[in-house]
């Protein structure tokens, strides 16, 4: 964390009467300054912005560079390489010569990373898939944080029997292997449409994996949130506020929530990283994102059958996942050092 005093320019005017120093910057401002002064945070943040931009520009890439529709199969398509027209699905030369192998990476604008089993452009699908992977991971992170905050705060603040019930419930869900819980939920939820009042959720919608991934990690966040709430509730300044007769709802809003918020923010990047991996794992087991939607996980699944003949189809999304998750973790580490008063480097 920065030790130098905050700039005075943007601060409220100093107390003229006492000639005192300007009040120190608030914790949020200090955190932002800490982030801006950390090279790791700036670089990893920049890398993440680039990845998001690349996936947002997927339609542009598909239309103008690859000139293909990455969601339609192109089994009989042909492309021009070195002035020669070659089919996207090459005749297999191995064994009996039966069957076809999709074209390998051309390293040119079209089929930059080759084609998958259905003759679709892998590079374009990678960008579209990235879009979905990031949307799912992001939305699931939000969902998880909100649920965990509500459960943790209610359990920690209410205490007593409510706490006992909620804590035991959290422990129970914790004892489930995450993947088995997620697989169970998706098998129950996939292949059906849900009608919740006016909301209509089709089974191939991205909402299903978002809900599943968002829910399975709730215990991991709710537990520390509960602990933090209990610690704050018993701290002197909350006792003092209580003694002054401040309403519980106001204590919750003004004192407990801001303190819990840092815990939640510290969790956010790590949770997002975890969610990206979880999404890919579920899609790899074909219980995550459903066709025709793509995600990094579904491309990995497409690539599984081509692993030995066209390994690029598997390698590319894996590398994309690895880079994104690493950047998120790097960013998250800096964030934790800044926001968590207990962490070593923060001191």
């Amino acid at each position: 964390m920065t030790t130098d005093r905050p700039e005075t320019g943007s601060m409220p005017p100093a107390d003229a009467a006492g000639g005192a120093r300007p009040p120190p910057a608030g914790p949020w401002r200090r955190a932002l300054q800490g982030l801006a002064s950390s090279r790791t945070a700036v670089l990893s943040g920049l890398g993440l912005v680039l990845i998001v931009l690349a996936t947002v520009l997927a339609p542009v890439y598909a239309k103008h560079v690859a000139q293909t529709d990455p969601f339609r199969s192109g089994l009989s398509a042909k492309i021009l390489i070195d002035g020669k027209r070659s089919p996207v699905m090459e005749r297999s030369t191995e064994g009996l010569g039966l069957g076809v192998t999709p074209i390998g990476p051309t390293w040119g604008p079209k089929y930059f990373l080759g084609a998958d089993n259905q003759g679709r452009d892998v590079a374009a699908r990678l960008l579209y898939g990235g879009q979905n992977s990031l949307i799912i991971a992001g939305a699931a992170t939000l969902l998880c944080l909100v649920c965990a905050a509500v459960i943790g705060i209610v359990a920690g603040y209410a205490g007593g029997r409510v706490d006992t019930v909620l804590s035991n419930l959290i422990d129970m869900i914790w004892a489930f292997p995450v993947y088995l819980l997620a697989i169970s939920l998706s098998i129950v939820m996939l292949g059906k449409t849900f009608e919740i009042g006016p909301i209509h959720i089709s089974s191939s919608s991205l909402v299903v994996p978002i809900i599943i991934i968002g829910l399975v990690y709730v215990p991991y966040v709710a537990r520390p949130v509960r602990g933090r709430v209990i610690a704050i509730t018993n701290s002197d300044f909350v006792l003092a506020a209580r003694g002054l007769g401040i309403r519980p709802s106001r204590i919750l809003w003004r004192h407990i929530l801001p303190n819990v918020a840092t815990t939640l923010i510290v969790f956010a990047p790590m949770l997002m990283a975890l969610n990206i991996v979880t999404e890919s794992s579920l899609s790899f087991l074909s219980v995550g994102v459903q066709a025709p939607n793509a995600s990094w996980g579904t491309i990995l699944q497409d690539g599984q059958a081509l692993l030995y003949s066209r390994p690029v189809v598997s390698m590319a999304p894996g590398i994309a996942i690895m880079v994104t998750v690493m950047l998120l973790n790097l960013f998250g580490d800096v964030l934790r050092d800044i926001l968590d008063p207990k962490s070593v480097r923060g001191r």
Binding site: N168, A175, V178, L180, I183, F284, S314, G318, I321, V344
Partner: protein, 323 residues
């Protein structure tokens, strides 16, 4: 002490019953999830569904169904699959358990040894080159999906470099029972072990490093240094001993969950017919009795591992003994 153990056991049973009820409700009572319709097939006639419902006892009240299933699983032991009729659940599960146990136990030895080494070395060389290299590799290990690592390992050892001197000894994918041939059991599991442990080496190494560095700020470390102990003794006997407790707690949870079936991705990629894969396949065809049995089996290991971890922590940290 006895009271503590008894209450611990009681809690274990409560958690397991709770888990079995939750699983049961997920599959039998979720609105719209009609097990009979699933068993009967996609386009079954309504009469068939009704017949199936009666046949499998799914028309009885839900708590009766639950009770019958539990009795068949634990008392009579003749619970049979809904999908492959005649397949007994309990023997199938006990046949798959050694595969998963071999995989996870071997990987656990590897990741505890290497994870501890990583954490201690990185902490000892804090902010210097060995620390930076180890933490960089750990960061990568944590960022890669385990099934992808497995695929890349297969790509190298089974396909691209299989016919070279380096990897020609790698047997084809699959499991060889320990009782059949210990040597082939070992060879078949080498790469699954490495793949599964890689993530945890990174995770535990990072965690232990942070722990040791934090412990270095404690007063008793200063005391230990002041009384003239060597740096190595302070690091290993004082700092690491305290910092390894959260790692042990984490290890218990991870080990329990993995033995319980969370190693499913590694098992799928390496073609090992373990509990995770069994559960996954049961889930895909919605073989409810198999799912219930597998989940209960899994939760048993998780709860058991947690209890063992509590004991281990008391052994490691003398401060916990006095309570």
């Amino acid at each position: 002490m006895l009271a503590v153990i008894l209450s611990r056991l009681a809690r274990m049973v409560v958690v397991m019953v709770g888990i079995s009820v939750i699983t049961f409700l997920i599959f039998f009572a979720t609105p719209g999830a009609d097990p009979a319709a699933r068993i009967a097939g996609r386009n079954a006639a309504p009469e068939t569904v009704t017949a199936v419902r009666h046949d499998f006892g799914l028309d009885r009240p839900i708590w009766v169904q639950y009770g019958v299933m539990m009795r068949k699983m634990f008392v009579t032991g003749d619970l049979t699959s809904f999908v492959n009729r005649g397949q007994k659940i309990v023997p199938t599960l006990t046949a798959a358990a050694p595969v998963t146990l071999s995989l996870v136990a071997g990987a656990a030895v590897l990741w505890m040894a290497l994870g501890a080494a990583t954490g201690i070395i990185a902490a000892a060389f804090k902010d210097r080159l060995p620390d930076k290299i180890l933490m960089g590799v750990s960061m990568m290990a944590v960022a890669m999906p385990v099934f992808w690592v497995g695929e890349m390992v297969n790509l190298v050892t089974q396909s691209r470099l299989h016919d070279t001197w380096a990897f020609s000894w790698v047997p084809p994918l699959g499991y060889v029972p320990l009782s059949e041939s210990p040597a082939r059991w070992f060879l078949a599991l080498v790469f699954p072990w490495i793949t599964l442990s890689f993530l945890y080496i990174g995770l535990y190494g990072r965690m232990l490093r942070t722990g040791i560095i934090e412990t270095y700020q404690e007063d008793y470390i200063r005391t230990a240094r002041a009384k003239g102990l060597t740096a190595r003794r302070v690091l290993l006997k004082h700092a690491t001993r305290a910092a390894i407790i959260p790692v042990v707690i984490m290890f218990g949870m991870d080990f329990g969950v993995l033995v319980g079936g969370a190693a499913v991705l590694t098992e799928v990629v390496f073609g090992l017919n373990g509990v995770g894969r069994l559960t996954y396949q049961a889930l895909k065809v919605l073989d409810l009795p198999m799912i219930m049995a597998a989940v209960l089996y899994a939760s048993f290991f998780v709860v058991l591992a947690n209890a063992v971890v509590d004991l281990l922590c008391i052994l490691i940290d003398p401060r916990l003994r006095r309570k």
